[in-house]
């Protein structure tokens, strides 16, 4: 545990700063790909799936969503989404009641696992979806996450 932490800090300290290269336009092509504005502005699961280019999504046991039952604070909610569907090319995380439903979308490139985790914000108690594209179909898993506002201590 300690060793891991130290390695983390050391590897961080020894990282090369490539910010200049990035700002000089030398970014990898993938980083300059167009941002899916329509998908990020869509409301609700069906609209997001449509904006991403798919038909109505169906619930699937092959899609996994790991999220807490209760979030003590909606500013940070750890969500993991994964898929065991063959031919998965995209994994997205959606929060139904956020002002914008889509939080993040990950492309599954060759050799990368269809399994991603990140922290998201939730404005209120809501259904959270893992939306997965496999072949030309969209599938999802859903879980309700209750958001509480804590008290003073801690």
């Amino acid at each position: 545990m300690m060793a891991n932490r130290r390695q983390f800090l050391q590897s961080g300290a020894s990282t090369a700063v490539l910010g200049l290269a990035a700002s000089a336009g030398l970014l990898p092509a993938a980083a300059q790909a167009a941002w899916s504005k329509a998908a990020f502005e869509a409301k609700g699961l069906a609209e997001v799936a449509k904006a991403l280019g798919g038909a109505a999504p169906v619930e699937s046991a092959e899609v996994q969503l790991n999220a807490p039952e209760i979030a003590e604070n909606g500013n940070v909610v750890r969500v993991a989404a994964s898929s065991s569907l063959p031919g998965t090319t995209q994994v997205a995380i959606l929060v139904e009641k956020n002002p914008n439903t889509l939080a993040a979308v990950f492309d599954v490139v060759d050799g990368t696992e269809a399994n991603f985790a990140t922290n998201i914000k939730m404005s209120q108690t809501s259904k959270v979806y893992a939306l997965v594209k496999a072949g030309d179909k969209y599938h999802y898993a859903v879980k309700e996450v209750k958001v509480t506002l804590g008290g003073c201590g801690g």
Partner: protein, 103 residues
């Protein structure tokens, strides 16, 4: 310029798991200041990662990803000593890349 990312990459068998912590405000564009004015959105929109020059992660984010974003993903083929590079770009066009060695 934005602060460095913290990147941990660990190989186990033929799988490498990468955990990244980024320093970014991730202002959602939904909040209002005390005067009732909407605080403009300022958040990372694209994240990519390369291993030996090959893209192993490509993601698009919105303003709902938390401040100081956390990301975890895994890919096949990495081994200890290999380099992994993570890059983000935000909606203001600012960007940052950092490198780490797979442990």
């Amino acid at each position: 310029m934005a602060d460095p990312m913290r990147i941990r990459a660990q190989a186990q068998g033929d799988k490498t798991t990468v955990r990244v912590l980024m320093a970014h405000e991730m202002e959602s564009g939904q909040r209002k200041d005390s005067a009732g004015k909407v605080i403009p959105g300022w958040y990372i929109t694209e994240v990519t990662a390369q291993h030996n020059g090959k893209t192993v992660l490509s993601a698009q984010w919105g303003g709902a990803v938390s401040k100081n974003p956390y990301l975890q993903f895994s890919f096949k083929g990495g081994k200890a000593g290999d380099k992994i590079t993570v890059t983000w770009v935000d909606n203001r066009g600012e960007s940052r890349s950092d490198e780490a060695v797979i442990a």
